[in-house]
Amino acid sequence: MRPILSIAGKEFRDDFRGRWTLAITGLFAVLALGIAYFGAAAAGRLGFVSFNATLASLTTLAAFVIPLIGLLIAYDTIVGERESGTLALLLSYPLSRAELIAGKFLGHSGVLAVATALGFGAAVVLIQLMTPEARTWSAWRHLGVFVGSASLLGASFAGMACLISALAREKARAAGLALLAWFVLVMLFDLVLLALLVFSGGNAMERALYPYLLLANPIDVFRLVNLVALGAGAGNDVFMSMTAAHAYPPALLVAAMLAWGFGPFLLALLAFRRQEL
């Protein structure tokens, strides 16, 4: 276990030294505060209005930003070591490939979790302090769900980046594949699902299948976890109405989020173990 923690610690410190952690935390905090303050500007109001609406907007925002950052900080995890020549040295040590990739995954996921907790968390706490009506146990619970699921979303994409990094032979190719994965999962996936739904005429089978197809994308699972937890009326009515046909059991959503959090990493582990130097 010590080598894994040592590798994770090094990755964490590297990201911190490289100002990644600070930049991500700052970005999350600024975005959270901006959404909270200007979120109701369209309705002619400024200032902190609704805690749940802010969290719903943050969920939508995090669904775009966290996957991109997860992919960017981890896409060179293995291929970068291979290109720089340090991979052969590390693997000549009494260290298994599983320990090496687990340490790196843990380090990168840790950075994302800390940045999420500090960035979004600090902003949300500030909002709570300025809006007394938001100081409820349920608000804290929603915040906990948000930070936890956002951390798992980050882990999911850090794991995907590790998988890409283990398979790619060049760093440039890994970067390209990482961006492609982001584009497909963030931009394309939901559009394809919507198109299928429209062209199928919304028949019963499609409508029954659609909610489950959403579980095939970690970003949609993240949205479901948070928006279903917040309930209708938090600015998420369109999404809720599309998925309301199917009542998601909370255990299914938690299992799906956990599976997406660690599944890509396990695939990366398998891919890395099969590869020769």
Partner: protein, 311 residues
């Protein structure tokens, strides 16, 4: 005799191409062994197999009595020190931080870090590695290879980037390791530099084993021409002896100031020396067996330059 490395019919194939084929070598424990061969000869492949970084396609391999891919592979790697060619580190860490990090991964005591930095003479250990010269990086590479006091050292081009003083210190370190019963395998192109420090040589070419054995035995078995250097007395006229060498010994001497150097067939060595001893104008005779570089060239069909700059 205990063997540090035993390979039998070892082969490694990438697709249809064999990087290493039917290689059977033994390395006795406690010796300094040169792993020689030109680029693409299979040296790096053999080292990677020994470290368990790649799987053999054929044959058997035991390193320190263990299978590099067996259940005890991880414990085996703790007993091996490895210095890769063109060793790379993390530029954002200092030399000391790098070694401390690698010590944890090697499961070596943290107390070794300071001792090893001193042992390899790495000044500025607290500077970031990205500011290091090649020589400093090589010293750090050597220090990490020594972490955990390994029984077997696999060093790939270890003197690359080292200045002459550092190279001398490196070979003193190798001699000290040998004296403590450690086995050292050195892969290098600089044969002249390596030759005086080797007990044995393994010569690879085109992925196959060309020769292996004690350096002296290999030289004797090859029966390559010997190089004789004679020094003329002050004011002596070298022309008659040059003519005699051309006519009687079939040699083509090269004259430099007051010395003549020439090659004679191994079989004619004694007779030539006997005759030279009778020549009145000579004050010194030096007879040298074929260098490792010439032996390598003869075995591997590689061209080799003559003289001290042979590599």
């Amino acid at each position: 005799m205990r063997h540090a490395i035993e390979a039998s019919g070892l082969g490694k194939r990438y697709g249809d191409a064999w990087a290493l084929r039917e290689v059977s070598v033994t390395v006795p424990a406690g010796e300094v062994v040169g792993l020689l061969g030109h680029n693409g000869a299979g040296k790096s492949t053999l080292i990677k197999l020994m470290l368990g970084l790649i799987r053999p396609s054929d044959g058997r391999l035991a390193v320190l009595g263990a299978d590099p891919f067996g259940a005890e592979a991880r414990r085996l790697r703790a007993r091996i020190g490895y210095l890769p060619e063109n060793v790379a580190f993390y530029g954002n860490l200092s030399g000391r931080e790098t070694l401390a990090y690698l010590a944890v991964l090697k499961r070596a005591p943290a107390g070794e870090v300071g001792d090893l930095l001193e042992r390899v003479g790495l000044a500025a250990a607290d500077r970031r590695v990205r500011t290091y010269s090649n020589g400093m990086r090589q010293r750090l590479g050597l220090a990490q290879a020594l972490l955990g006091d390994p029984e077997l050292l696999l060093l790939d081009e270890p003197t690359s980037g080292l200045d002459p003083a550092a190279t001398r210190e490196f070979f003193e370190l190798v001699a000290a390791l040998r004296a403590r019963g450690r086995t050292v395998v050195i892969s290098s192109h600089v044969l002249a530099e390596l030759e005086p420090h080797l007990d044995r040589a393994i010569i690879l070419g085109g992925g196959r084993l060309l020769a292996q054995g004690a350096v002296g035995e290999l030289q004797a078995a090859a029966r390559l021409p010997v190089t004789i250097t004679v020094r003329l007395a002050d004011g002596a006229d070298g022309a008659p002896i040059e003519a005699w060498l051309r006519e009687r010994a079939g040699a083509a001497p090269t004259r430099r100031a007051d010395t003549l150097e020439f090659d004679v067939p191994h079989a004619a060595k004694l007779e030539t020396v006997r005759r030279l001893l009778q020549a009145p104008q000579l004050v010194d005779i030096d007879v040298r067996e074929a260098t490792l570089a010439r032996l390598y060239a003869a075995i591997g069909a590689e061209p080799a330059p003559r003289g001290r700059s042979e590599t």
